[in-house]
């Protein structure tokens, strides 16, 4: 079976390493193999956060510490068994992950990097200065190790245990990242506003990424503490946070095998240079400074560009139907009803008031246009309707629900799709992936179903792909399905964005200047396409200056 080929290869690789470890039986080499597994776990979670969600965290050592000190305190102070404490470590670390995710909801970029850095420093200070509890630089001795049949793990058993955890992590994250959630994370890295407009719950996705990174780091910390049966504050300084980040960046962030490569290479470098700590330090600095310059996508990126990439052939889609391309069946009695009702809507930016007491209503099944001179507040209106801006006053009722001030993803879920005046495609993703993201809010597979690749998740994914291809065919972009959206010519990018909005199954489609930058021929084609969309039963509201298109 094709589906099991890669997972089987991963397991076979791990078994081979495990057998080699049993055969070597040299404590020094076993220790290196064990640390590779530990660092792999850190890197795998960090890759989700940095490579997929695009959130730079400089405080992973704090989460590593959360796991390590959880097992240390639970086994020494509370006298719990090694296994119980080990199970508690990812939970505590995950909770800490939520704590550092909170600022990420408000700030981004350098601010977030500095906040996570501060988190790492706070944890370091806490464990090194609150000596009554954490033992400071003296550390905590006598941590209970993991046991099998009452006996502590031997060195080989630790390596095996590390390998088992690494394989499980690799397989689960592979399931998660190849589908709905991986796409959602990559979309929010590219453009949070567009991501939210197609129904991705941006905040929740960010918290999820932080928690995944925290849990794997916590497990890694617990393993190190229990294997050494000792932990002190020296281990979890700023340098560890940087090391974990370097694992991902050098290996290749956003790539499936980047963390493995990073963990193997850097653990070896670490072991080779261990005798000269100052040289080691210098090498890490140089790697950080130059690696990104020479290899922006890490070692995995270099390999990828050397090996020509095999593009999976597109599956044959099921024949298109009206509903599979987002059409709305015009049920009797629903036609001609009021779809959207706006009353007394106001918005001001300081002294500029783009909207004052605006009221209108849209009937289902028509194509409407909003016209006016530049600066009249047309885009502001679209942004308020779709939840990008909060109105100051007034009501917006959509399909009978009050949506004014609601977040974009809720409004998208209710059935309002939109395009943007200045294209907001996820340019690194392919056209097909962009349209699949439009399906995000209509897919029903949850986190756990995706993580374990349950049949429901696979079914949803296949269904979404089929519908996305139907839509691409409808707008005439099928030949470009596997092209990166950013490399399409401008006119086709406009269509791709339209296709993405249609994939959300909108009842109302908001188009912000769909013909901006198009030549007369392209504009005419767009006019035909819009007519076809209207025939599908989708109500359209567009902002436009091209009066020939409007009329």
């Amino acid at each position: 079976m094709n589906r099991y080929r890669v997972p089987l290869a991963i397991i076979a690789f791990a078994v081979a390493v495990g057998l080699a470890a049993a055969w070597v039986a040299n404590d020094y080499y076993l220790r290196i193999a064990f640390m590779m597994c530990v660092y792999y776990l850190c890197a795998a979670g960090m890759n989700v956060l940095v490579g997929y969600a695009g959130q730079k965290s400089l405080g992973q050592a704090g989460l590593f510490a959360a796991g390590a000190y959880t097992v240390a305190l639970l086994t020494t102070r509370a006298d719990l068994s090694g296994w119980t404490a080990f199970a508690a470590a990812p939970i505590v670390a995950g909770l800490c992950g939520i704590v550092i995710a909170i600022p990420s909801l408000r700030v981004s970029g350098p601010y977030l990097a500095m906040v996570t850095l501060a988190f790492g420093v706070v944890v370091e200070k806490l464990v090194s200065e609150w000596t009554d509890v954490f033992g400071g630089a003296q550390g905590i001795y006598g941590i209970k190790p993991l046991t099998i049949a009452g006996e502590p793990f031997s060195s080989v058993q630790w390596v095996w245990f590390g390998l088992v955890l690494s394989v499980i992590t690799q397989l689960l994250l592979r399931n998660l990242l190849r589908g709905r959630f991986g796409r959602a994370l990559r979309s929010l890295q590219a453009d949070e506003i567009a991501s939210s407009s197609v129904g991705v719950r941006v905040y929740r996705a960010k918290v999820m990424a932080f928690v995944i990174a925290a849990v794997t780091c916590g497990i890694a910390g617990a393993m190190v503490a229990q294997q050494n049966q000792y932990i002190n504050s020296d281990f979890i300084g700023f340098h560890l946070s940087i090391f974990i980040l370097l694992l991902v960046l050098l290996g290749g962030s956003g790539s499936q095998y980047g963390p493995v490569i990073g963990a193997v290479v850097l653990t070896l470098v670490d072991a080779l240079l261990a005798r000269w700590p100052s040289v080691q330090h210098f090498v890490y600095g140089a790697l950080l400074l130059f690696a990104l310059y020479l290899m922006p996508n890490g070692i995995a990126g270099v390999f990828r560009s050397l090996l020509s990439r095999r593009v999976a052939p597109l599956p044959a889609p099921r024949p298109a139907t009206q509903s599979s391309i987002g059409g709305q069946a015009l049920v009797k009695g629903r036609a001609e009803e009021i779809l959207l009702d706006v009353t007394q809507l106001c918005k001001s930016f300081g002294g500029v008031r783009p909207a004052q007491d605006v009221s209108f209503a849209l009937k289902r099944g028509h194509i409407h246009a909003l016209i006016g001179p530049n600066g009249a507040g047309k885009s502001t209106m679209i942004n308020m309707l779709s939840g990008v801006l909060d109105p100051d006053k007034g009501n917006i009722t959509f399909v009978g629900t009050q949506v004014g001030g609601q977040p974009s993803h809720v409004i998208c879920q209710l059935g309002m799709g939109r395009t943007f005046q200045n294209l907001r495609l996820f340019s690194e993703l392919t056209v097909l992936e962009n349209v699949l993201l439009g399906r995000h809010c209509r897919m029903k597979n949850g986190f756990w179903a995706s993580l374990f690749a349950l049949p429901s998740a696979r079914h949803q994914e296949a269904d979404a792909k089929s519908r996305a291809l139907n839509i691409l065919e409808f707008v005439g972009l099928l030949p470009h399905a596997n092209t990166a959206a950013g490399s399409l010519p401008y006119g086709l990018q406009r269509r791709a964005e339209l296709a993405r909005a249609m994939a959300t199954e909108p009842q109302l489609l908001l188009l912000d200047e769909p013909a901006a930058g198009l030549n007369p021929q392209e504009t005419a084609e767009l006019g035909k396409l819009l007519k076809k969309i209207g025939e599908l039963g989708i109500t359209v509201l567009m902002v436009e200056h091209h009066m020939d298109l409007v009329m």
Binding site: I102, P110, A113, L245, F290, N383
Partner: protein, 307 residues
Amino acid sequence: MLVALLQALISGLAVGGAYALVALGFSITFTTTKTLNFSHGDFVAIGAFIGVSALLLLSGNPINATSFSGISVGASAQVVAVVAALIVMGLLGVILYVLAVRPFAGKAGMSWVMSTIGFGIILQSIGLAIWGPAPVVVPSPVGDDVVRFFGVGVRPQELLMLAVAIVVMVLFDWVMNRTMIGKAMRAVAHSRQVASLMGINVNAVMIGAFFLSSALAGLSGYLMAPIASASLYLGLGIALKGFSGAIIGGLSNPRGCVFGGFALGILESLVNLWQAQWREIVVFVLVILVLTIRPQGLFGQRLVVKV
């Protein structure tokens, strides 16, 4: 009690001066290039050691001596030391810009965070190779005798720190708002392309910004050394608190940054009166609170993202 409070206030203001200088450094590079030097802390530490080395050399000692006991330092030596710290650190800032910032500035992905951290790690390991990890107690240019008034003991260096910080801020404020250079910097901050079309040498302005920002790091390192003794591990804490001050005041507003730096210094030293180990935690909780309530800082301008 009152004496202790006053004491804390004054030492808070002095340390706050160092934070304010660092915060100003962050603000300068952020407004002109939209990047931050994440190795600012290492620049502060190296700046302190450049000053120390200049003092040692001028008094005829090896630069890696770890103590000033028995060495007398003249006023002229101090002047040379501060100029050396300013120029060497400024030039290092230019190297930082060329190697670590220019390849990545203005591109997505914030790779400059990593590359500037990498640069800092290299600086620190070179510094450790030259000066070693031991902290060095440095004599103050204005004497080390504690001055007492109203029962409050003040070290002259603390007053010097405060005075220099205030002078630098006022000077900077005047340059930014009243001179052509300041206007050019603000233009570049606003839009690189438009500034370039208006005939402003954008590259020179950016190099200048990094020179200035790093020179300020050197200055705060030089001034902090007699207060906290010079150590290569001194920087990270100061830089983090400087950045926190900048966040609290608003990164885009230099006056706000200065205010934030001073406020943080005072807060920290008041918390210190109560429970020393909670210092960092209180500071960072405050930062997170400010970011949650006003992400643009207390005096920063809110950026409206146009959709």
